[in-house]
Symmetry: C2
Subunit: 126 residues, 2 copies
Amino acid sequence: MTQDPSPARVRLRLVFSPDFALGPGKADLLEGIAETGSIAAAGRRMGMSYKRAWSLVESLNAAFAAPLVARSRGGARGGGAALTEMGERVLAHYRSAQLKAATVAKEDVESLSRLVRIAPQDDQAD
Amino acid sequence: MTQDPSPARVRLRLVFSPDFALGPGKADLLEGIAETGSIAAAGRRMGMSYKRAWSLVESLNAAFAAPLVARSRGGARGGGAALTEMGERVLAHYRSAQLKAATVAKEDVESLSRLVRIAPQDDQAD
DNA sequence: AGGCGATATGTTCCGTCAGACATATCGACT
DNA sequence: AGTCGATATGTCTGACGGAACATATCGCCT
């Protein structure tokens, strides 16, 4: 049985205001920071300039009631960054919403994938 | 009791390939064409230039196994456009996925909305 | 035959955004 | 004190995308 070649990626974007939205990019960055302990490393890992990663963190920290990322400068290993409790909660909620959405949308997405001209593919970008 | 001020809009974007994705923009355009019977009118209605609306239709028609929009030129009222059966199906599946996704994500989205700094709003843009 | 209104298509221009560079700053550790 | 590695910030420039403008084309109707 030829498994379905993973239909289409479902991207979820939560638009809170004209100025701020939370989508896959910021979510992945948060996850990267949690795992690497560094904004720069997280950015590099997803092929993003430090400046861009930093500005995303800025907007995230500004958008919520409390910062999502705690940053520290200097020190033995130069410094670093980590998710705050708020950061963990926000990321968890986003992932939860994303997972649920992808699950319930699966049927429709598969139907659509069967209607597209060329076979859908999947890379690990964005 | 103060009703929740509509948390955040949930935007669903289905990425079929690096070159083609189906999101709210194209879906709304399809809907507009179905209702107005014209690419130009649908475009105007959503504040989009005719050129842009036309190019979106082009990409939609190219991406699927059959055209989603049937176009006619000339004639009594100049011409027009309408959804094909394929167009109806694609739009229906997208709306279905969108609705289901928004429904199951509701809880998480509301939780997130409670964590944002300023009250989320909702305009009818994009 | 001429008009009308919509589709079809090209060109030009400009604002925005992202990437590339360049520094500055911080603080534990050697 | 000096090093190191990460955060913090500014400037500049090139690419991309969209808006504006300009036509061309089509075919029913008067």
